[in-house]
């Protein structure tokens, strides 16, 4: 196998690693801007919840909105505060791996519950 088949650049033995000292850099003003965004999102979540208190909207929608905002916050924190933006590919992959694994768990388990309904039945087929 030739060297070029190495799929994960930048994470190679230290020979390779030393070529990579200068990752990017995230400036302080970026942090402040991200923080401002987080605050806005914070207000949005609570605001959305407050509005939902008066408005009749489907429950699912409320959950989706709340989770979408939380996910956006998370992405901001992970991407900027936790430096994933300037991390190497391997670290980036690990950062998403937990979310992928959780999605697998979530989709399959909820799939089973949806199929059974609540109170749970043996299955969609009678």
């Amino acid at each position: 196998m030739a060297e070029h088949s190495n799929p994960i650049p930048g994470a190679d033995g230290h020979a390779a690693a030393s070529d990579h000292h200068s990752h990017g850099h995230i400036g302080r003003d970026t942090y402040y801007r991200v923080f401002a965004a987080l605050m806005v999102l914070m207000v949005l979540t609570v605001g959305a919840w407050w509005v939902e208190g008066f408005m009749e909207i489907p429950r699912v929608l409320g959950v989706i909105v709340a989770l979408a905002i939380a996910s956006t916050k998370t992405v901001l924190i992970i991407y900027y505060f936790m430096h994933i933006k300037i991390s190497n590919r391997v670290t980036q992959l690990y950062a998403v791996s937990a979310f992928i694994a959780f999605t697998i768990l979530f989709v399959i388990v909820m799939g089973d519950y949806f199929a059974r309904g609540w109170p749970p039945e043996i299955g969609p087929l009678p």
Partner: protein, 270 residues
Amino acid sequence: MATTTTTQGSEVQGHEAHADHGHAGHGRELQHHFETAQQQKEAATLGMWVFLVTELMLFGGIFMAYAVYRWAFPDIWAEAAHHLNTPLGAVNTVVLLVSSLTVALAVNAAEEGRNKRLIRLLGVTMVLGVAFLGIKAYEYSEKFAHCAGYKTPFAWASGGAPLGETECLVPGRAFVFPEAHGTTAADAHNEVTPGQGSPYQLFYLLYFISTGLHAVHMLIGLSIVGMLTFMAARGVFTAAYSTPVEIGGLYWHLIDIIWVFLFPLFYLVH
């Protein structure tokens, strides 16, 4: 090269990605088994990230249980959530988000070798962390005070105003969810839901477990930040060596992320 047997003795320690390890020592230290500082730093960061993955999956199990039961008992969830103190939860969220900013700035300060600023920022972070835990503790003790029959924890301590109705939202044999207000009139049948076996309890169980586990992580995070402050005060960090601050910061952000989800999932339910 040091031989391994001497490592545990006199040798100063570098750092370790795992939170449980001490960080005593000074000077930037390259552990014997690493070739370059860059390699050591990469290992530490990746190690921390992999560890964070396990932390996320740990909470993932609880989130899964939460999802199933919220889907199964949507009304009960909405009703139960109304008994949580949403303003306090919101304040806590802000507190944590601010602390995330201060940690990010602290990492930045460490990278730039500005030690004073680093110590200050770490200090602020700790204050915010303690504030978060204080508010959380108040929320908890409010629930316990209700079980004891008092309105507030203070009333409980001083033997003050009793709570009008029976309510105990702490899961366990004493659990009592108060009568639903606002639903159709004087229905004699709709008694107070008893503790055992009601989905209301499931909500509070999940609430206490996940926020409790989160609080435990806060405590660990606080001790890490404390350790970092101590190290910073001893002048361990320089512009060239700040990895511990960085990976400690990662841990703190993780705690923040978990709360970012806990808040809407428990406090903002309709």
